[in-house]
């Protein structure tokens, strides 16, 4: 095995154990891993931001005389006015641009992607062939409408509205339980990945190497 890979495995194993030590309690090993992590990941982020955005989208565009890119660059630089007390209002302009963009993109996209799509999926014939699909269609319709009624804010919860909202909570609780149970398996596999690394890539080869060393 190449030396830098061996070093990497040992380093990675050390970090893995350091993070797991947090499960017991906060300790110097975790603190060290945490600070290294923050330093390295932020450094990574800076480099990616530079090469993928500043270099590719700003410097390259200026090289091709696409002068329009000066505007976002100036807006980006305007963010730095935050460090000055007098001129800090200038940083509101790029912020306003981003928020306007966010709101303008979100409104139609969420109507289409959430509201229209899920309404479409819900509207189905309730009376269909077969008892089971019919029941499912009724349950689905009931769940969606009662769930929506749960979210009503300005309607007092009394009479039928109260019953419907209560039923809505019932459906929500089923969803929470089911979604929790559904997610468990995926989370377990992440842990398995780490255990596999620790045992198969680190402990076992190390023990084997030691064995070779002493066993001839």
């Amino acid at each position: 095995m190449i030396w830098h890979e061996l070093l990497g495995i040992w380093l990675a194993a050390g970090f893995t154990l350091a993070i797991y030590s947090f499960l017991y309690k906060d300790n110097p090993a975790y603190k060290l891993a945490e600070h290294i992590y923050v330093g390295v990941s932020t450094g990574y982020l800076i480099c990616i931001a530079y090469w993928e955005v500043i270099d590719k989208k700003v410097i390259a565009a200026l090289g091709q005389h696409e002068w329009i890119v000066i505007i976002p660059t100036l807006m980006g630089l305007a963010m730095f006015t935050r460090f000055s007390k007098k001129a800090s209002w200038v940083s509101r302009i790029p912020l306003a641009f981003i928020i306007g963009y966010t709101a303008g993109v979100a409104a139609p996209n969420n109507i289409q992607g959430l509201l229209i799509e899920h309404s479409y999926a819900t509207i189905n014939p309730v009376l269909t062939a077969g008892f089971a699909p019919q029941l499912n269609a009724i349950i689905m319709l009931l769940g969606v409408t009662c769930g929506m009624i749960y979210f009503f804010f300005s309607v007092e919860r009394k009479g039928p509205i109260k019953v419907a909202a209560r039923l809505g909570i019932f459906f929500l609780m089923i969803y929470f339980g089911v979604a929790y149970g559904y997610m468990v398996m995926g989370r377990e596999s992440i842990l398995i990945g780490r255990l596999n690394f620790l045992i198969l890539d680190w402990i076992k080869p190390t023990l084997a190497a030691i064995g070779r060393l002493f066993g001839g």
Binding site: F80, I93, A103, G143, A179
Partner: protein, 225 residues
């Protein structure tokens, strides 16, 4: 000055937002171009802003080091890692995507830390479930039963268990097996609740966006008029 500080940002919010909405509904190339352009601009601005974030991070740790607060040594480590990684990525290696020290650091330091932190979830998911999934109230019981059916029904154990019960007690055969129950719960009642959440969310998001675009909601800009 008041105009530049208060009204101008609001005007920018509304105008940019309106243009984005129009470009959603029109295939005209200049509008579509504006849409992708705006997306890139936002990225560029956010990446410049990263400098402010990094500055804030460095300042917080600098204060700790300067005041020699407890554990300031960790802050020095943070500084070394940050500067080393940035120096390697920006000055030493132009092609950061393959080979080299930068990717080595990413592979053997960043990735294991990411994966390990992520994997803490397996422990937390167990402890949270142990604590919260108790048949205390009706609602809590519903949650508990839903979670259990899903957890048992979606692994081979569930199928084996159902088959065993079905074979031993013939009457139970009218009850569907656990895998079928899990599938049904996911695709009918849970899906219904999820759709209700989505529909409510859509209304909430659109209403919030419109409040922002109309300038009714401006708390995020420091509030006040």
């Amino acid at each position: 000055m008041g105009f530049f500080k208060r009204q101008l940002p609001m005007i920018i919010v509304s105008v940019v937002g309106f243009l984005m909405i129009v470009s959603y509904f029109s295939p005209a190339p200049f509008l579509q171009g504006m849409f992708t352009g705006a997306n890139e601009w936002v990225q560029i601005i956010a990446n410049f802003a990263l400098v402010i974030g990094v500055f804030s991070l460095m300042r917080a740790h600098y204060i700790k080091i300067k005041r020699k607060e407890a554990g300031y040594g960790y802050s020095i480590v943070m500084y070394i890692c940050l500067i080393f990684m940035t120096f390697v990525g920006l000055a030493l290696e132009r092609n950061i995507k393959s080979g080299g020290v930068f990717m080595w650091m990413f592979k053997w330091v960043n990735t294991p830390l990411t994966m390990t932190t992520f994997s803490l979830l397996a422990f937390y998911i167990a402890s949270a479930a142990y604590r919260a999934f108790r048949a205390r109230t009706f609602d809590a019981t519903v949650m508990l039963v839903g979670a259990l059916i899903l957890m048992i029904g979606r692994v081979p154990l569930g199928a084996m268990l159902s088959d065993f019960v079905h074979q031993q007690i013939t009457v139970t055969q009218i009850i569907p097996g656990l895998p079928e129950m899990a599938g049904w719960l996911l695709s009918v009642p849970a899906m219904a609740a999820r759709r209700a959440i989505f529909l409510g969310l859509a209304v909430g998001i659109v209403a919030t966006s419109l409040r922002i675009l109309f300038g009714i909601e401006r708390t995020y800009m420091g509030g006040g008029d």
